[in-house]
Subunit: 251 residues, 2 copies
């Protein structure tokens, strides 16, 4: 697509579209790491010229980012990146890696631990298993362009998924890739419960956030397309870096 | 429904159903305020007799509540309520008051402030208005059985909703009731963005939480059934009291 000739006398409607596009591109650039926390964004006059808009339009984009908590605007020092919050859609299908991919972010994960444990009654019931069934308990950590975003504990049936500890490690700690490797090409998100609390010491260390920073806590259940639950994951996300997006009419 | 005769030799399947029902009823009772934070729940033997189950089943329910962060279980002091977290479904329709009603909780709200302001470009664009259109900015506080759960700033078009400041106050600060009063019997939730951060001083005062406690921050857009946006609301919920539930296959 070619850019239109810069038009500094844009209508209100064009302004409405333009600042959104600029804000969205800056959000993605921040989310992708083009600008790190503490970096100063280009001045409004520079971006106005780059985008071919009035600098008020760029300032509107800056105000939007500020309201999202992503930047702080000060007259003296310009517009500084204060947080990197990546949107993460929670719908019928949830995949962190493919979400990052769409945003131009390189997602990576690592396996922190794998263990075979005797399932407690609750976890087994949620997976449709009898109490005491053997379960995989797998801890992982996910990064976006190297920045830790979340850490999660996964629970799956050992009987249903033998060797899943190895499969998961070999799949680069991606649940989607691990499921593909065991013949499950599609799965759905049944339920996500979200709340906020302060990070524990260990969570703060893993996520590289301040001790006592706010985390978003998620308890989620994934299922086969026929809605049979196969995977539970309890995750903790850095509140300053991740935002869950629920848009029920977009599915 | 009559209760079955107590059966302490219940099968694993019955156990799986029973502890969930007990946990859910205790969650609702905690959410409703039957037990306050700091209260001790009845002993497992007492509840086992009341529900006609083995006390291990009750203990399983207690463990579930503990994992949700709602109670702390200690051998000496029994099971104490540590938080009151009310589930709040975020789907195609979102109404705090009717959600509370379903949980047996009395929801109430108050209007903190109303003002007519000149809309900034971003807010106006989200409402399909030209920049600078007059907007209602209405602050409210919502309680569940008297406990503050969340505080929000609402944005609506003055032209579309003349006198909405009075309508909202007269509707007891319920958006659903206020919309009904202006002839809108149905509206839908287009989008909810959720993240976590630490409470500001003012938010902590309003929500009666510790300064620096974690809050869940929500930016939401409501629309007419034809998906025309009519209402924005930026809310802050006490993380220790509220949990957002996303279940896309339940709609």
């Amino acid at each position: 697509m070619t850019r239109a000739v810069p038009d500094v006398s844009e209508t209100a409607e064009e302004h409405g579209t333009a600042w959104r596009r600029i804000a969205s591109e800056l959000e993605t650039a921040i989310g992708r790491g083009d600008y790190a926390v503490g970096d100063t964004l280009p001045a409004s006059v520079v971006l106005a010229e780059r985008y071919g808009v009035h600098r008020h339009t760029v300032r509107q984009a800056f105000r939007h980012l500020a309201e999202q908590g992503l930047v702080t605007v000060s007259r003296g020092r310009g517009t500084q990146v204060s947080a990197r919050r990546v949107p993460y859609p929670i719908g019928r299908r949830v995949s962190m890696r493919s979400n990052f991919g769409k945003l131009g972010i390189v997602g990576s994960s690592e396996t922190l631990s794998t263990a075979m444990v005797t399932g407690d009654a609750e976890t087994c019931a949620q997976l449709g298993l009898e109490a005491g069934a053997p379960l995989w308990r797998i801890e992982g950590l996910s990064r976006a362009d190297g920045t830790p975003m979340g850490t999660g504990t996964h629970w799956l049936s050992v009987e249903r998924f033998p060797d899943f500890d190895h499969v998961f490690r070999e799949a680069g700690a991606s649940m989607t890739a691990a499921f593909k490797a065991v013949g499950i090409d599609d799965y759905v998100r049944l339920s996500t419960r979200l709340t906020a609390r302060l990070a524990s010491e260990r969570e703060a260390l893993l996520l590289e956030i301040a001790p006592g920073a706010a985390v978003m806590v998620s308890a989620a259940t994934d299922a086969l397309p026929d809605l049979t639950p196969i995977h539970l994951v309890n995750s903790v996300f850095a509140g300053e870096r991740m935002e869950m997006v629920v848009e029920p009419f977009k599915e």
